[in-house]
Each structure stands twice: as C-alpha cells, then as structure tokens.
Symmetry: C2
Subunit: 143 residues, 2 copies
C-alpha cells in the first residue's frame, strides 16, 4: 500500500523519527521492508500501531504494557481480562501518584505561603527543607 518514509510516518503518527527507530530496536514496532537504498518503508497499519502506542504512552503505560496490549489487540478473540487488568493497575498507579503529588503540592504551597521574603536565615523554604518535622504530613516518594 501507501509507501511512507520514516519522516512521513513520524508526521502521520506524531511519534518522532528517532523514537520510531528506537521502538524498532526494542522490538515494539516490527522492522519494515527497505527501499533499494536501504531506507525504511512503512504502510498505513504502522501509522495505526504508532498512534496506539502514542496514546498509551500519554496515558502513562510502560512500553512492556503496550507490547502486551498490542498483542491482545492483534488477536481479538480473547477475553479482555488481561487488558482490563493492565489498565486497572495503571489506574491505581496514576491515583497513587496523584495522591503523592497532592501532598507535595500542599507542602510546597504552605512553604511558600509562610515565607516572609526576607533573608535566607529566616526563609521558610530553606527551613522547611532542613527540618522535616515542620511538615504537617508525611509525603511519599515522588515518582
């Protein structure tokens, strides 16, 4: 079908050229046929595949999850239990991260709010960092 260079595929999918090549090296995108001169030639199915990946990345899925989800999507007569499980895990992870960031946001805001904008030795920002006891709540590791 339609013969796409890697640059056209990039523009059609929104995935950058080096990233496409990277996906090929790690086996997330199959190696396409080459032109006589050795350049990669893609078709429309590759555009779809990359859009799938891009959307999944935007939702925070890791490349391993996306590999699994793509496998599922390629063989459609299976139960979607696995897909559900992967997405649920991801949702839980996102909620965990939001909670962590929310705690961090509160502390940063409080820190800035209490700062008298004077000299460093009375700066609440530095002070708070120096002494965790000044925090109202524990905040988990950010990630």
């Amino acid at each position: 079908m339609s013969d796409l260079s890697i640059g056209k595929l990039s523009r059609a999918s929104g995935v950058k050229v080096p990233t496409i090549r990277y996906y090929e090296t790690i086996g997330l995108l199959a190696a396409p046929p080459r032109s006589e001169g050795g350049q990669r030639r893609y078709d429309k199915a590759d555009v779809e595949r990359l859009r799938f990946i891009r959307h999944g990345r935007a939702l925070g899925f890791g490349l391993d999850d996306l590999r699994a989800l793509q496998d599922l999507s390629d063989r459609p007569n299976q139960s979607c239990e696995r897909a559900d499980a992967i997405a649920s895990r991801q949702l839980a992870e996102v909620e965990r991260r939001i909670a962590g960031l929310e705690a961090v946001r509160v502390e940063l805001a409080r820190m800035l709010d209490h700062c008298a904008h004077g000299e460093v030795d009375q700066c609440r920002v530095i002070e708070t960092l120096s002494d965790h006891a000044l925090c109202e709540s524990d905040h988990p590791k950010i990630s």
Copy 2:
C-alpha cells in the same frame, strides 16, 4: 566530632549507602575525610545535609535545585528570592503534573467503566487506545 561510617550515616539520614557515594561523585555532598584504611568518616553536619537532600527529593526537587538551595542555606545573609523562585517553579511543575495525571485518571476510569468485559474485539480499553477520538479530552504528556 562524632565519627560516622557511611552505613551509620545512611541509617541516620535515611539515604542509602550507594546513593551517598553517588552524591559525592556528582559533587552534591562534599568528599569527607578518610580513616587510615581509606573508609569515609562523616560528622553530624553530614546527617543534616543528607536529610535536607532527602526531604527536597521527596518534594520532587531535582539535584541541581538542591545544590542551589544548599548553597543558599550555607550563606544565610542573602535574600531568599532565589529560594522562592526555585520553590515556585517546583510548585508550578507539580501542579502541571497533577493536572495531567488527573486527565489521565479520568480517561482510564472511563475506559474501564465502559468495558463490557467480553472479548477483545469489543474491548473498550483496546478500542480507546486505538482511537484517540474516543477520548473526551486531550491529555498532555505524562511526566
């Protein structure tokens, strides 16, 4: 003063041993004196410094920011404008991330909610990933 081995410093500060050595290699923590046998010997000020770093890391500051904040904290007669600016930037960044993750959370939840738990070819999870047009809103890059 009190002579701490790297292991004791680690337990006192909550920062892992290899991480302490890593901080030394990148110049975030000054290289301490050594014992006759060549082992690192720390003092209580190092415990404080590492706690400062650990707390900053928990708030999502990068190591470069922490270097700058530590410099400020070491010379206390300056205006805390710089510290404020760094913390404000961090707060903005955290808010940006929360907003992004919130959009992602909504879409993941909607995706899972609409899934009929049947076969993959009707799976809303896979379907949504394949077709960004099914999303209600744009979601920015996760990070």
